[in-house]
């Protein structure tokens, strides 16, 4: 039988499937090609031995610090500032104060949208518009909040020891984000209750318990403790509920055609969740 070409043997080494069986059959009976393949294996194995410096654990964070000032804004929505990372941290500007301040600004914006305009007769088109504007602001803000919460929970659900046998996992990053979200969550839950949206308030209440769990866990957890947190998230089905409600709010926000109070179908969908 004809010997395989050099490129075919290299492709064979690389695990390519095309013509693999016939090359394997040939190799069984051809010491010459076996030696040729062994030489290719040895060369590539030797090249693998060239050392590559292993980047530090926090390398990704350093890259982010270097590139983040150079990233242009994707979309300049006026509410983005509410949710962006505070530029300074420390005792002068604790992250939770910033979050609370952002919510206060949001509630104020909703209040101004609803109140600071000339008085109108209830039921006129203008009154409907104001009510829509106010709800739209809240809907978008809560939708954003749920999206961010979902990210933290998904990250947590997927975190784990990078190396088999690692005794502890650091979840401090997720914890900090959970703490920030907790402040926002409380205020949104109260607002939802005041507006009579008990279904949304219920989901936010459940989310709050999960966020509290995360925020109060130790920074370094054992794989067993992490599994415990994960099971609590899974048992409550909170991720699914957050996704459903977040999606619904996003659709309402995008359509811009929202009732002043949530529709019964929207509520029933949330209750199903």
């Amino acid at each position: 039988m004809k010997h395989p070409k050099e490129e075919e043997l290299i492709a064979y080494h690389d695990g390519e499937v095309e013509g693999r069986d016939s090359i394997a059959t040939h190799l069984r009976d051809c010491p010459e090609c076996q030696a040729e393949l062994a030489r290719i294996d040895a060369l590539l194995a030797a090249l693998n031995s060239i050392p590559v410096p292993e980047p530090a654990e926090d390398y990704g964070r350093r890259v982010w610090q270097q590139i983040s000032p150079r990233l242009p804004e994707k979309r300049a929505h006026w509410w983005d500032f509410l949710f962006s990372e505070p530029k300074t941290v420390g005792w002068l500007a604790p992250r939770r104060w910033v979050a609370a301040g952002a919510i206060a600004a949001l509630v104020l914006a909703a209040f101004i949208a609803g109140r600071l305009s000339k008085p109108v007769v209830p039921g006129t088109p203008v009154a409907v518009d104001q009510s829509k504007v106010r709800e739209r602001i809240l809907v978008m803000a809560v939708g954003e909040h749920l999206g961010r919460s979902e990210m933290v929970l998904v990250e947590l659900a997927n975190s784990g020891p990078q190396i088999a046998g690692q005794k502890e996992v650091n979840i401090s990053r997720e914890q900090r984000r959970a703490e920030d979200l907790l402040e926002e969550n409380r205020l949104y839950r109260q607002t939802a209750l005041e507006q009579g949206d008990s279904a949304l308030a219920g989901v936010l209440d459940e989310l709050e318990r999960v966020l509290l769990d995360v925020a109060h866990s130790p920074q370094q957890v054992t794989p067993a403790q992490l599994e415990n947190i994960r099971q609590r998230i899974e048992t409550r089905g909170i991720l699914f509920k957050v996704r459903v409600v977040g999606k619904e709010l996003q659709q309402r926000g995008e359509s811009g055609n929202m009732p002043a109070t949530p529709s019964s179908s929207a509520k029933s969908e949330r209750n199903k969740a």
């Binding site: 050099e6 490129e7 290299i10 492709a11 690389d14 030489r39 290719i40 040895a42 060369l43 590539l44 030797a46 090249l47 693998n48 031995s49 060239i50 590559v52 410096p53 980047p55 390398y59 990704g60 964070r61 890259v63 982010w64 270097q66 590139i67 983040s68 150079r70 990233l71 242009p72 804004e73 994707k74 979309r75 300049a76 929505h77 983005d80 949710f83 962006s84 990372e85 954003e144 999206g147 961010r148 979902e150 990210m151 998904v154 990250e155 659900a157 997927n158 975190s159 784990g160 020891p161 990078q162 088999a164 794989p223 992490l226 599994e227 994960r230």
Partner: protein, 215 residues
């Protein structure tokens, strides 16, 4: 249940959420992608450029380009593979540019070493070492770096992506902006050149190891 490391599927799923949120204006979501994939991109970049300084620049530029082109990223795809390809593509441009700058200079590129950082590719002496010195494994490693440096940027990219990154021919073709058959040829040519340059040394090292005389 074994939860030691997130599966590829869950990584792709959470990456897709992060991409979606970045596109919706949440810059912090992009941070997750950067923190998750930087180390892998660095390893590729280091293998391609052969030095830490250039590798770090490739990593930063790859993520900046990924952010700018994010709207072109199809959510069906794997973000890790996509940014890897962007890095490979940029590294080729950078290597070509450096090569042309070096050839325009009167002094060889290795004279630019500042002593603070060792450029592995350019620190290899050009004169062929004696067989005695080559018996030392460190010298064989130097010889390997030299052989890699002598590949064209496209060949080195193809080799690194295929043999160290485990990339498929289609991915390599995209990084090289070429057809799949051209990419396959480039991979083959790179291995062929490396064999020609290195096999005598690798075999000699193998013999020395077998005889117990390797240093």
């Amino acid at each position: 249940m074994n939860r030691m490391r997130p599966s590829v599927e869950t990584t792709i799923e959470t990456d897709a959420i992060a991409v979606e949120r970045t596109l919706a204006g949440d810059r912090d979501a992009f941070r997750i992608l950067v923190e998750r994939h930087s180390r892998n991109v660095y390893r590729l970049a280091y293998r391609m450029t052969g030095n830490q300084h250039d590798a770090e620049e490739v990593v930063q530029e790859a993520f900046l380009r990924a952010y700018q082109k994010l709207s072109q990223f199809a959510s069906r795809a794997n973000f890790g593979t996509w940014v890897y390809r962007i890095a490979a593509n940029y590294a080729i441009d950078r290597m070509r540019q450096k090569k042309s700058e070096d050839s325009n200079r009167a002094l060889p590129a290795r004279e630019t070493e500042d002593g603070l950082e060792m450029d592995l590719m350019s620190s290899v002496p050009d004169a062929a070492p004696s067989p005695e010195r080559l018996a030392q494994s460190g010298q064989v490693a130097d010889q390997m770096r030299r052989a890699l440096r002598e590949l064209t940027p496209a060949e080195r990219t193809a080799f690194v992506m295929r043999h160290w990154g485990g990339s498929g021919i289609d991915e390599i073709a995209e990084a090289l902006n070429s057809s799949a058959s051209a990419a396959k040829n480039t991979v083959f040519r790179s291995v062929q050149k490396l064999r020609k340059a290195l096999e005598p040394f690798v075999e000699r090292r193998g013999q020395a190891r077998a005889m117990g005389t390797e240093l």
